[in-house]
């Protein structure tokens, strides 16, 4: 039991930090530009595939350095030549633009790399168990992921609190209308934030593609989860995104291991109901299988009863 808890905690930390790399960019983009970027997870996917492609050509370490800026550049171009033109038609059009973009990227990935998952292995250097606890190994690669994401976390914190651009971004978060008045080159800031957010998502893809799986459906799988994270955390709140990332990762990681169902629970208090039909299904669902729906349930409830999210200051 202790073993289960410790490893689940460690794994949720790894997954949570990965989610934060995605959600921080998304929440920054949303709160500055008002655009809910449906293609954000697609940039994550591009990161994974670029990482895979460069790894097979010249190795993982160069890929780690090259792929994220490439994705960032792509993101900046999308902002400059796509999103900015759509801006005049309003938020719905902007949102739909990103929906369409996500669609195109997924199909593009299908087109170039095929419909099946690619083998994107752990780099040799990191392919060993870093420690063993109660006969369970914890791989060095996971440790490395944790290291990278903590480093990014610190870097992000530093940029936002210590640099000029960071201060502008922060101002924009709290007073979105004011930044224009400050006389900064707002379009350039937007492009930078969008590109930066995309690069972060790309980096998450380079390392997450190995950890999870690199396939054309990876964006569609992770995308909604990232939305859940920023909604639960509160739109525009980085702290919220951080907390919610860890929280959701923990929920998902822990739920997987708990194989109790409602009927077990009822049996525990001495009720043994014989039911049929759809109730029977409900009775039998094990908690471990609810993993996929818990986040959405969580999001819908939050949106209905606390639209500001856990830590947000403004409503969506």
């Amino acid at each position: 039991m202790l073993e289960y808890i410790i490893f689940s905690l460690l794994n949720s930390l790894v997954l949570g930090m990965l989610l934060f790399m995605l959600s921080s960019g998304l929440t920054l983009i949303f709160s500055m530009m008002g655009v809910l970027n449906f293609a954000h997870a697609s940039f994550y996917m591009l990161g994974a595939y670029f990482g895979y492609q460069i790894s097979t050509a010249i190795g993982f370490w160069p890929a780690l350095i090259i792929a994220p800026p490439l994705v960032g550049l792509f993101g900046a171009l999308v902002e400059r030549y796509g999103l900015r033109n759509v801006h005049k038609y309003g938020h719905v059009a902007e949102l739909l633009f990103t929906v369409g973009l996500a669609f195109i990227i997924e199909e593009g990935v299908n087109l170039i790399w095929g419909r099946n998952a690619v083998t994107y292995p752990i780099p040799k250097l990191l392919d060993f168990p870093i420690f063993t606890l109660f006969n369970t190994e914890f791989s060095a690669y996971r440790m490395f992921m944790l290291f990278i994401s903590v480093a990014i976390f610190i870097a992000l914190y530093w940029i936002l609190t210590r640099t000029r651009i960071g201060l502008i971004i922060q101002a924009a978060l709290t007073h979105p209308q004011m930044v224009n008045a400050l006389g900064h080159n707002v379009p350039a800031v937007f492009m930078l934030v969008f590109g930066g957010g995309s690069a972060l998502a790309g980096l998450a893809g380079v390392i997450g593609g190995i950890f999870l799986v690199t396939e054309p459906a990876m964006a569609a799988t992770l995308g909604p989860i990232v939305f859940v994270v920023i909604v639960v955390g509160g739109m525009g709140s980085l702290t919220g995104a951080f907390v919610a990332s860890l929280l959701l990762a923990a929920i998902q990681t822990f739920a997987v291991g708990i194989e109790y169902s409602l009927s077990d629970l009822l049996a525990l208090v001495g009720i043994r109901a014989e039911v049929g039909g759809i109730l029977k299904d409900l009775w039998r669902i094990q908690l471990s299988h609810t993993g996929p729906i818990l986040p959405y349930l969580f999001m819908v409830l939050i949106l209905m009863f606390r639209p500001k999210g856990l830590m947000g200051k403004r409503e969506t």
């Binding site: 809910l36 796509g82 033109n85 759509v86 038609y89 938020h91 719905v92 059009a93 949102l95 739909l96 633009f97 929906v99 369409g100 973009l101 669609f103 195109i104 199909e107 593009g108 299908n110 087109l111 170039i112 790399w113 095929g114 419909r115 569609a220 909604p224 939305f227 859940v228 909604v231 039909g277 759809i278 029977k280 299904d281 409900l282 669902i285 299988h289 609810t290 996929p292 729906i293 959405y296 349930l297 999001m299 819908v300 949106l303 209905m304 639209p307 409503e315 969506t316």
Partner: protein
């Protein structure tokens, strides 16, 4: 008589077209294509009751479509077993009822605000239902879905629905009824107030309407038609799977509606026809059809945000003033570089699909009647040149079109003030 024709002519024409089309296009493929178009038209129009008329951007409208389909399928099986005395022709109503029930509950839960909150809640509910569908196999049938048999004893028309053409006519009748009803709904107090709430919810409250109630009602009515479409789906395919409630179905109705245009009632009809046609015909020709679909969608968002119907309607005054002949040459001029660009992109896309998906990429590929090797640098070069040159001339031609347009609109304005 003339007044009658003016008022109802378009409906008569629609009925006529529905009757005649399957007599012209008689192949099995055409009939099932037409059937699917009928279903898609209902579904897309019902989606536009949300987006176009109510200002609610939903990412989960397939929930009501799918639930309607499932309930209808269960009902169909009961009818077949003789335990449910509903004639099969009325099955879409069962789907509609499922839509209404689900729509009332989820509609109320999600419509406190429109905009992004609504969009996200609809996404969440969509994912929730889609995920639960796999967990509740006794209702949704798990991975395989549920099958049914539409050949039942209980009918009112006497049709047995063994032949696809009979099913087509059933769908056509329901389609016409639903389209007419949805059109009439836009003319009712609720329909108009839904527009008001879309435009300005705060103001709507100060003329006596609770925005949330208006949205919920509009949502529920839309869910009814989505459910009815789902019921027709069940009859048409005799199988329904959890995919029908899923994100992809929701996304595709959104794109259909948007491409058709949300600003005019007939827009989604165009979108449904075009996209269903693409779905069924292109899917057989190329693996890349989804990519073309995506490109079309993004192109529309960027350059024609009012959709096909918007494009048509801006030309209405020009047409009436008999000025089309001034625009057409410019359109011809711009069509050429567009075509070249498109061909270039198509070559590139198809080459890549050949390389990544065919069994042996070394085999020659066929495109537009030409056979060549996908690795040939000529093909790659040609496609790139075509795209770049096409883009260059596209920009030139665009300024010509803009010039013509400003001329024409000047003339139109002059005509108004005179």
């Amino acid at each position: 008589m003339i007044i009658f024709l003016k008022k109802f002519g378009i409906w008569l024409a629609a009925v006529l077209i529905c009757v005649v089309l399957p007599l012209i296009f008689r192949s099995g493929f055409s009939i099932s294509l037409l059937s699917q178009m009928g279903i898609a038209i209902i579904f897309a129009l019902s989606y536009n009751m949300l987006l176009g008329q109510g200002g609610m951007l939903s990412f989960g409208h397939a929930v009501y479509y799918g639930l309607g389909g499932f309930l209808a399928m269960h009902a169909l099986n009961r009818i077949g077993a003789g335990t449910l005395p509903i004639p099969i022709e009325l099955l879409p109503l069962v789907g509609g009822v499922a839509g209404v029930l689900a729509g009332l509950v989820f509609g109320w839960l999600s419509t406190a605000r429109a905009s992004t909150t609504f969009a996200l809640i609809s996404l969440g509910i969509g994912e929730l239902i889609a995920a639960s569908a796999l967990m509740l196999p006794s209702f949704f049938g798990g991975e395989q879905g549920i099958i049914g048999d539409r050949v039942v004893k209980l009918t009112i028309t006497g049709f047995r629905f063994g032949k696809q053409i009979e099913v087509y006519y059933l769908i056509a009748v329901w389609m016409l009824i639903c389209v007419a009803l949805m059109y009439l709904l836009t003319q009712t107090p609720l329909g108009r107030v839904a527009n008001a709430v879309r435009d300005n919810p705060e103001r709507a409250a100060f003329i006596g309407y609770a925005p949330r109630t208006v949205r919920t009602l509009q949502f529920t009515l839309a869910a009814f038609f989505a459910g009815a479409a789902g019921g027709l789906f069940a009859i048409n395919y005799e199988i329904i799977t959890a995919e029908t409630v899923g994100a992809q179905a929701s996304g595709s109705v959104l794109m259909m509606t948007y491409i058709g245009g949300v600003g005019h009632f007939f827009g989604p009809i165009l979108g449904a026809i075009l996209i269903t046609f693409m779905q069924l015909s292109l899917a057989g020709v190329t693996h890349a059809w989804l990519l073309y679909f995506g490109l079309l969608f993004v192109g529309m968002v960027m350059w024609a945000p009012n959709g096909l119907s918007g494009i048509i309607m801006v030309h209405e005054p020009v047409w009436k003033a008999r000025l089309m002949k001034r625009l057409l040459p410019a359109y011809g001029l711009i069509a050429l570089p567009c075509l070249i660009m498109f061909l270039g992109a198509m070559i590139l896309i198809e080459i890549n699909y050949h390389l990544s998906l065919s069994i042996n990429p070394e085999n020659p590929m066929h495109l537009l009647g030409i056979t060549f090797r996908a690795q040939s640098p000529v093909a790659w070069g040609l496609s790139l040149v075509m795209m770049v040159a096409g883009f260059f001339f596209f920009r030139k031609a665009r300024s010509v079109v803009q010039e013509r347009w400003s001329e024409v609109s000047q003339t139109l304005k002059g005509g108004l003030t005179r």
